[in-house]
């Protein structure tokens, strides 16, 4: 009984996913220049990334994200360079036919929206996370995140904003660096690959509260 149910569930899920992917491709290929909320491409992103791009599990917040980072990631989904499971499942299809210009316009639009902090981490771990972020752990050869991601985790150019992203998203992404995903995104595999599970949870907690 159970295997049958599972099989049916998977079948339904694949159908939904296929539908999302088809819709995504349809909307994106027909995309007019981005810039207002009625734009078809923006509306399509917001299906998963939430109204005004504030994110909705598992899709990360796009509001206030560095435009150069978003545009690069959209191209990386298209080229399959970003290959973690949810990227394959959702974003490879959604970004398959995006032009460089549309990616650039979408990224520019989301950068104009004010990000809200997710505030969904463990407050008890935030102090430890802050210490790792700001100081690193030189004795354990763990680099200080602040040097590249900035004093308020705001990011710069192609380096992403981390402040205020959801705990679950940060935890998942931080864990994936040591699992061989997105291997070309040097230097993150080497840096985050050294983090323990507890350190990842502490960092994700801290960052979820950063405004």
């Amino acid at each position: 009984m159970l295997p049958v149910m599972r099989g049916r569930e998977i079948g339904i899920m694949s159908y939904v996913r296929l539908k999302i992917a088809v819709m995504a491709i349809a909307f994106c290929t027909a995309a007019a220049p981005a810039g207002h909320a009625e734009n078809a491409a923006i509306r399509n992103c917001n299906w998963c990334h939430g109204a005004s791009g504030q994110g909705y599990t598992p899709a990360p917040r796009l509001a206030g994200q560095r435009p150069q980072y978003v545009a690069t990631q959209l191209m990386n989904f298209g080229s399959h360079a970003r290959d973690n499971p949810f990227s394959k499942m959702y974003m490879w299809g959604a970004a398959a036919n995006l032009s460089r210009q549309t990616a650039h316009d979408l990224a520019a639009y989301y950068a104009t929206l004010s990000p809200r902090a997710a505030n969904d981490g463990d407050r008890g771990l935030a102090a430890e996370g802050q210490s790792i972020y700001q100081e690193g752990m030189p004795d354990a050869n763990i680099a200080a995140c602040v040097v590249c991601h900035g004093p308020n985790a705001e990011g710069v150019r192609g380096i992403p904003r981390l402040g205020g992203l959801a705990y679950t998203y940060l935890k998942r992404r931080l864990g994936q660096w040591s699992e061989g995903f997105n291997a070309g995104a040097s230097p993150m595999p080497s840096i985050a690959g050294k983090l323990s599970q507890n350190q990842i949870e502490a960092l994700a907690s801290y960052l979820s509260f950063v405004k």
């Binding site: 690193g136 602040v146 040097v147 991601h149 990011g155």
Partner: protein, 235 residues
């Protein structure tokens, strides 16, 4: 003497591990003895050093390169992270000590340098000295010619000496004077603009950074940008 002790110890450890399945006690005792043996050797041979500390130095090198780039070519993060490749060992070792002694202010590097032993500092500096990746570039090119002129001739009207006089005609540095060739453009600007606020900060320990103070102070912003652009492209 010491090297024969090292050999005996290694053999003993080898013997024990044959007899004991776990061998944990033997290994735990043998390791400090091995380190002590090496420490007593006045001039440590390269072979010995590799045997004892390869893991430590390799792990630390990988840590440095996490931020400074896989070939230590530098990385332009939120703050510019300097190129260490090809840097003068004396300069690099002095800077690491400067972070520890609060002569040079940088919170992150203060923490990093604190975790390094003197032997580790020397080994790291030697490794970076041997690297020669191509510069990461990216600087605006329109003032490179002006930068070359300032670098080679100085600015006589403003009493600014030629950079080449100390840093060498190819900007490769010498001893305590750093290599500038291939250095990151934004890093060079940050250092020259903030010289007096970042370097020579411990009045009890004056250092060689004082030599550069009047020059850094006399250069104006556009001269700094021009010189930085020029040297950032040098190989």
């Amino acid at each position: 003497m010491a090297s024969s002790r090292w050999r005996i110890d290694t053999m003993r450890r080898h013997d024990r591990s044959k007899r004991r399945i776990a061998g944990a006690f033997g290994a735990r005792l043998a390791l400090p003895i091995a380190f002590a043996a090496i420490a007593f050797v006045g001039v440590c041979r390269a072979g010995d050093m590799n045997t004892a500390a390869t893991g430590g130095i390799q792990a630390k090198l990988s840590y440095c390169k996490d931020c400074h780039g896989p070939s230590a070519q530098g990385y332009d993060g939120y703050f510019p992270i300097p190129r260490l490749a090809g840097q003068q060992t004396e300069y690099l070792e002095n800077q690491l000590r400067a972070f520890i002694e609060h002569r040079r202010t940088n919170n992150v590097m203060f923490n990093v340098a604190h975790a390094l032993s003197p032997g580790m500092i020397a080994a790291l500096a030697a490794d970076f000295r041997g690297l020669d990746p191509k510069p990461i570039g990216g600087a605006p090119t329109q003032f490179v010619a002006l930068g070359r002129k300032i670098f080679q001739d100085g600015v006589p009207d403003a009493n600014i000496a030629a950079c080449a006089a100390c840093h060498g005609p190819a900007a490769t540095g010498s001893g305590p004077i750093p290599r500038l060739a291939g250095q990151l453009y934004p890093y060079l600007i940050k250092e020259l603009v903030n010289w007096g606020k970042e370097r020579g900060q411990n009045p009890a320990k004056p250092d060689t950074s004082a030599i550069m103070s009047p020059v850094a102070h006399s250069l104006n912003r556009s001269q700094i940008e021009a010189v930085a652009a020029y040297v950032s492209y040098l190989r």
